[in-house]
């Protein structure tokens, strides 16, 4: 087990280097830089700009810049944001916390809803319940996240039941931690529900397919023949085996939820990574874009790793390496 994780971690290194190199190249080839706007500003002297360039290490050749950046990256230092004038790491840390909260909340919710429904639909395959749930799954798969988010926004603009935008309301400074937490969760609810809705559909479909596949195997038939109770067959014999492939999905989902979350965040005004990278792209904030890109890729790799590790823990058949 330990060697397996270690091996996977070692495999990450060339991946990360390649990833950071591509990120760097993408940003390098973008036209105009952050200073282009500053040069237009008559209040900032050319000397100041030169000094800033030297401070940021932008006067050196491209490859040296990359190596310097890579060296700093290993110490979790992604440079300083041009626009915010604070370290990129601080900025990302704050936004990442929000995005992860959103991702975990919606992941948890969608799994809790999708898996039982899939078991129900799989058990009653071919009935009206199954058909209705499948239609719902189609809706959920085909509705793009931004449109669901907009529908929610429309609904809230009409009813005003939930707060929208930001992570907290305006508060008394001495508000209790619980009150702040409750408020945070309230703000989380809109983007969380949107993401959850978008996510449920394909989770449901995958889970149902797995369940049906396992449910039709001979050993389940044997279990029926031995007269085991239905609940034991469904939950112990089928569900456990049907869940195994889902752990790989859990890892993959971290990536897909990052994608979905980005647009949802922007539309619902949730300050997460998605809105951060949009702002950074719009203002040509070089280091911030690179940092966000690398971190998001890193999250995806970690997600896959977690999925693989969970799979080896829960599925003894794969415990080989």
């Amino acid at each position: 087990m330990k060697t397996f994780i270690l091996k996977r971690l070692l495999q990450l290194i060339p991946m990360l280097i390649g990833m950071s190199f591509i990120s760097f190249m993408i940003i390098q080839s973008s036209p105009g830089d952050y200073f282009a706007q500053m040069k237009m500003n008559p209040e900032i002297s050319p000397e100041t700009i030169e000094m800033m360039k030297i401070n940021f290490g932008l006067d050196k050749p491209v490859l040296v810049q990359y190596l310097l950046w890579l060296k700093n990256m290993c110490r979790m230092d992604f440079g300083i944001s041009f626009a915010y004038h604070i370290p990129v790491t601080t900025l990302i840390k704050f936004r990442l916390k929000n995005t992860l909260c959103l991702a975990i909340f919606s992941l948890f919710l969608s799994w809790v809803i999708a898996v039982p429904l899939a078991v129900l639909a799989g058990y009653k395959e071919g009935t009206n319940i199954d058909r209705m749930l499948s239609i719902f799954a189609y809706l959920s798969i085909s509705l793009p996240s931004f449109f669901v988010a907009l529908l929610f926004v429309y609904f809230i603009s009409k009813t005003g039941v939930l707060p929208l935008g930001g992570t907290r309301s305006i508060f008394d400074v001495n508000a209790s931690a619980f009150l702040i937490f409750k408020d945070y969760m309230k703000h989380l609810l809109v983007p969380g529900l949107v993401l959850c809705f978008v996510n449920i559909g394909w989770l449901f479909r995958l889970m149902k397919n797995n369940f049906v596949e396992v449910f039709n195997t001979p050993y389940i038939l044997a279990a029926w023949a031995r007269g085991l109770p239905a609940s034991s067959i469904i939950f112990k014999h089928t569900l456990r085996n049907a869940l195994n492939p889902m752990f790989t999905i859990l890892g993959m989902e971290i990536g897909s939820i990052l994608n979905g979350a980005a647009l949802t965040e922007i539309i619902c005004g949730w300050p997460g990574m998605g809105s951060l990278i949009l702002e950074a792209v719009l203002s040509h904030d070089l280091y911030l874009v690179m940092g966000a890109l690398v971190i998001s890729g890193f999250l995806l790799i970690i997600g896959n790793l977690i999925g693989d590790i969970l799979l080896t823990i829960f599925d003894p058949r794969i415990r080989l390496t």
Binding site: I26, S30, Y138, S142, L143, L150, L164, A262, G274
Partner: protein, 352 residues
């Protein structure tokens, strides 16, 4: 081809319907120039956010008219944008009406429109936007952009994916290693972040035609990697088949074997994958335009029409018909998904 349709219909009536629905959508947006009652940037400055025009058959005195008619909508309160119908004059809906001159298919100049009403009334089936432009016309024109981007993008990325995957799988060795590592690294990035960063490589203010091709380029750059990997896997197994060996012993060139003997065997998979991946391109274009990084005003696209609703609670609440662009996107996506699922079963050789 005929047998294919037969099988599709036998497999699933719904998917068969989806297929024709999509064909209908593509044809309608292709002929947007002819069908739309207004040009996409023709503005009614005194009718911002007008709700959809009601089409009447019965006038207020209770008389029935065979020819449907509309009333002119007059703005009652310019702040809250409430409209009322001015029932003094009827404006019958006419076919082949004259209007401002515009170009059809970028070439033919004409001032005839398929249908419309006399000004000052307007026929806005889906209401108007902030400049008083007809949403229905903009949706038709926008469909032409959004749907064509998806088709062109899919074709480019599939060509790229097929060739890269084919070369990697067929030749193997060092080429395979290099290509696949590159593909893996590309796949590491969450596509939305990659899309935004790639967009950042280019200036924000490009001409419309440049932006169009840029979006196609970005979307196909993101899309080809996954396919290349699967094609490589398929080519790896197909190249061990006896008929490939036979082709080799006949002295055929590598390219001939790859293109005429190996690729055709991957088609049943690729056609399904193609159908399933089109929605991704439509969403990608919509997402970019939604954020103001894609198709720019005055040109419409489905994402672009939605973009005015972002971060503006009042607009969404006042003019929900702007969200119809999302309904169009949804309609196309669900039909592609239905069709893709059916194709997967129909084209699967196991089910023949």
């Amino acid at each position: 081809m005929k047998r294919f349709f037969q099988r599709l219909r036998n497999h699933s009536k719904l998917a068969y319907f989806s297929f024709w629905f999509l064909v209908f959508f593509y044809i309608v947006s292709f002929f947007a120039d002819i069908l739309a009652p207004y040009h996409f940037d023709y503005q009614f400055r005194n009718k911002p956010y007008q709700p959809p025009t009601k089409i009447h058959f019965i006038d207020e005195s209770g008389h029935f008219h065979i020819r449907p008619f509309v009333y002119n909508m007059i703005i009652d309160d310019p702040v809250f944008r409430t409209y009322r119908e001015d029932q003094s004059t009827r404006y019958p809906v006419k076919f082949i009406v004259n209007g401002p001159e515009r170009k059809i298919f970028f070439v033919f100049k004409t001032s005839k429109y398929l249908f419309g009403v006399d000004e000052p009334a307007g026929i806005f089936l889906f209401g108007t936007d902030t400049y008083g432009r007809d949403i229905f016309s903009r949706l038709l024109y926008g469909g032409r952009i959004s749907l064509s981007i998806s088709i062109v993008g899919v074709l480019i990325s599939f060509t790229l994916g097929m060739i890269t995957g084919g070369i990697a799988g067929y030749f193997g060795g060092l080429i395979d290693q290099i290509l696949m590592r590159f593909v893996e690294i590309l796949m590491v990035f969450p596509s939305f972040y990659l899309m935004l960063s790639l967009r950042a490589m280019f200036p924000l203010n490009l001409s419309s035609i440049q932006v169009y091709f840029l979006i196609v380029l970005i979307l196909s750059l993101i899309g080809w990697a996954g396919l290349a990997r699967i094609i490589r896997g398929m080519v790896l197994s197909i190249k061990e088949e006896d008929y490939v060996l036979a082709a080799k012993s006949l002295g055929l060139s590598h390219w001939r074997i790859l293109f005429f003997h190996i690729f055709p065997n991957t088609f049943s998979y690729t056609i399904t994958a193609l159908t399933i991946s089109v929605p991704g391109y439509i969403i990608g274009e919509a997402a970019l335009s939604l954020l103001g990084l894609g198709i720019q005003e005055p040109y419409p696209s489905w994402g672009n029409i939605l973009s005015s609703t972002i971060g503006n609670l009042k607009v969404v609440g006042d003019a929900p018909w702007l969200l119809l662009a999302g309904v169009f996107i949804f309609a196309v996506l669900i039909n592609f998904n239905l069709l893709g699922d059916a194709l997967r079963n129909v084209l699967d050789p196991k089910n023949w």
